[in-house]
Symmetry: C2
Subunit: 140 residues, 2 copies
Amino acid sequence: MDGLKNMVKERLELHGIKPSMQRMAVMEYLMTHRTHPTAEMIFADLYPHMPTLSKATVYNTLNLLVERGVVRLITIEEKNARFDACMDPHIHFRCRDCGAILDVDVEAHWVPAMPEGVTVEMSETYCIGSCAECNSQKVN
Amino acid sequence: MDGLKNMVKERLELHGIKPSMQRMAVMEYLMTHRTHPTAEMIFADLYPHMPTLSKATVYNTLNLLVERGVVRLITIEEKNARFDACMDPHIHFRCRDCGAILDVDVEAHWVPAMPEGVTVEMSETYCIGSCAECNSQKVN
DNA sequence: AAACAAAAATAGAATAATTCTAAAAATGGA
DNA sequence: TCCATTTTTAGAATTATTCTATTTTTGTTT
């Protein structure tokens, strides 16, 4: 019936995470919202539908998901951690003017040559500048 | 006489920053400590030699330096902002085991093709994994 | 040198994201 | 049903950073 919920469940189980209601809700949120939300945003949006949800659970779940490699932790902003369920190769761009965080697709992520003995588990590239919309408002 | 202090002063003035004692101290610290320190570390190390130094001044100075493009803000760690006075192209590697943050030299930094209209001011690449030393302790 | 304005530094309070703690609830056998 | 384990929960605690209001420093004009 509900294919999405099944995908969510499978994705959790595939990584050895027991699919509780709360974990499914957080995971489903991330899979359906490609907005790189903060923990706070996720909590604020889920809370009305799950009045017993605790902020600690959202943090616990996100930490677990990141640990198990189910979602990406994005540290492009100094203040807030942001999360991304899309694991396809892409990088993140932050607009200094409007604050938006955009995905930029790349064929494969760049991993520079590392010194002998170093092993790389993951790598992230962050670009910062001005988005097309903000740029267009600057010209006259 | 003291070539270092002159270099520090010049580098600040070049970016339109008035070289006060405190700013010089922070800038010199960053130029002589390639450890990607946190604001806290800088304060802790400078304080014994400058007992009137305030933590707010360290934060103010670091923010100013980053704004003016004199130093790099590194967000490779979730908790603490880290700072780097080296502006030559290089990327950062964090060891998940020992926490060290290492520089990795690259010829030029990768900036992926951006969507039409987007302008990029800066980009950072972070790699996370295990450093050579930690890896060597794992094998048996 | 005195007076003044502007810039910078300071101490400590305030803020806010995240983690911790201890208790309650849910889950899954035996 | 009983029990052990896992998960969730609320709120307190922690902590990096920013804010506020005051003081100090700096530079300029007389």
